[in-house]
């Protein structure tokens, strides 16, 4: 057998072997149960979420298909030429409920859902700025797809979560669906409906010198309607848990113990409930018509109830300006 023939046969055999790979469901299931790690020590790093602007789409290679509309984007001020996109089509009843961005400017996202961010059907549109060395196209392991003339690939992760990924210039765009079936035609239609919009940076006047900024820190605006907008900033603390600072329009809907805070009385609640959506610890304070909440979600719930002092330091250090207008909240495309 000639060398070329032998090598081709060998490659074909390995591809066949690779095709026998198991589904990633079990691995994903275990990975989502995050391991317990040590608690973080608050350091005096200022969260730069205030007035930070992050690009929703840091590239200019895609042509606009319709006239720009007055919607959002998030960009880094150092890159003023950035363009953004917004979907002009979503499945029925899907409204926009969240816009967020990485504090370090590496990504930005918008989330659309029919019921809420934590239940029902959901689609997340995310734009990542490619780092040097990151792939600029399909990895060859997935089914290739073309999105508006750009190379992409289809990720069928499990029965509920699917992802469409494609590359445009120096950006990687992803559309992720949750509980949508069939997902592929829906995500392709959303992708092809994206249109160019002028840059309109997301600004969040919320800062806390006591909240560490990590590689996974983010900030955003969320809510069901423009009149119910909540601005937030969030940091994942070395795998130990997540701290989220919010300024919200209504008081948290549960009772708590009275604690001294910001020269007055705050409330503190600890729960060890196994319910996933419920935070472990919440500290909240009336800002006068708005409520400041500092929430800690521990990955290890046996560690809850130990962070009042740390949460208090964060709450004491928070500076919050007016909640930005968010006319897109609760709206269909």
């Amino acid at each position: 057998m000639r060398t070329d023939d032998f090598e081709n046969l060998l490659r074909e055999a390995l591809e066949h072997q690779a095709a026998q790979a198991p589904s990633g469901v079990r691995v994903l299931a275990r990975a989502t149960r995050r391991p317990r790690r040590r608690w973080w020590l608050p350091v005096g790093i200022t969260v730069a979420a205030a007035l930070v602007t992050v690009a929703l789409l840091p590239t200019g290679e895609m042509r606009p298909t319709v006239e720009p509309a007055a919607t959002v984007g998030v960009t880094v001020t150092a890159e003023p030429q950035r363009l953004t996109w917004e979907p002009t089509w979503m499945p029925p009843n899907m409204v926009e409920r969240d816009r967020s961005a990485a504090t370090n400017g590496s990504w930005a996202a918008s989330t659309w859902a029919n019921v809420s961010l934590t239940s029902g059907q959901k689609i997340v549109f995310m734009v990542n700025r490619l780092k040097p060395g990151e792939p600029t196209g399909p990895d060859g392991f997935r089914e290739k797809v073309e999105v508006s003339g750009y190379a992409g690939q289809w990720h069928e992760n499990d029965s509920k979560t699917n992802m469409l990924v494609w590359w445009v210039g120096s950006s990687r765009l992803t559309l992720t669906s949750y509980s949508i079936s069939p997902a592929r035609p829906v995500l392709l239609r959303v992708a092809e409906s994206l249109r160019y919009v002028p840059e309109q940076p997301l600004k969040i006047p919320l800062s806390s010198p006591e909240l560490p900024t990590t590689a996974e820190s983010k900030f955003g605006i969320t809510g069901d309607s423009p009149g119910k907008a909540t601005m937030y900033t969030e940091s994942i603390l070395d795998g130990e848990g997540t701290v989220r600072v919010e300024v919200r329009p209504d008081e948290p809907d549960f009772s708590g113990a009275k604690v001294p805070l910001r020269g007055g009385d705050g409330r503190w609640r600890v729960t060890s409930s196994p319910r996933g959506a419920e935070p472990n610890e919440v500290l909240w304070f009336d800002l006068g018509g708005r409520w400041l909440t500092v929430t800690y979600y521990a990955y290890d719930r046996t560690k809850s109830g130990q962070h009042l002092a740390a949460l208090t330091r964060i709450a004491e250090s928070v500076t919050a300006g007016p909640t930005p207008s968010a006319p897109w909240l609760g709206k269909t495309p």
Partner: protein, 165 residues
């Protein structure tokens, strides 16, 4: 890139790579699961590297090599061998070259197998394979050359069986 996003994009590829290394989907899953959990714990550092995917791929390679060391012996599960087919026993059946090759790959020493997979599945260069395996390029060439020779012998024996039928 967040860890969740990394997983969503790379998990399937890691599993496919691990399956070619181990020749056993179950073992591949165990290896990738162990690697993923470790990567998750270290993601604050891994996520800052220039190529997190390459880093985690190397973790899979190392896990495969150390996994083998822990097992001491080359172990190919009965179910995996069944999938390859009983090449020598079934002289009357049609012998499939691909099955012969896969069975041969499963019998290769671990570093030879890793070198073959890196060369012919991931299309890595000698230099890249050397870096991945922590050896010289000369050693890589030796691994690949010996592995290919062994696989060719396997194929040739099947050819002789065919001719005899």
């Amino acid at each position: 890139m967040t860890f969740d996003e990394f997983l969503a994009q790379r998990l399937d590829g890691l599993l496919r790579y691990a399956t070619t290394l181990t020749c056993d989907p179950h073992q591949a899953q165990d290896i990738v699961q162990e690697v993923v959990l470790r990567a998750q714990q270290r993601w604050s550092r891994i996520g800052k590297t220039e190529q997190p995917a390459a880093y985690v791929t190397r973790m899979v390679t190392n896990e495969f090599l150390s996994w083998r060391r822990r097992c001491r012996e080359l172990v190919v599960t009965p179910s995996a061998m069944d999938a390859f087919g009983a090449v020598q026993a079934d002289l009357t059946g049609q012998v499939d070259d691909r099955a012969v090759l896969l069975a041969g790959i499963a019998r290769l020493p671990r570093k030879q197998r890793a070198a073959v997979v890196l060369r012919y599945y991931l299309n890595r260069t000698d230099e890249q394979i050397a870096e991945e395996l922590g050896c010289s390029t000369g050693t890589v060439r030796s691994h690949v050359s010996r592995a290919v020779a062994a696989l060719r012998v396997e194929l040739a024996s099947v050819e002789r069986v065919r001719e005899a039928l």
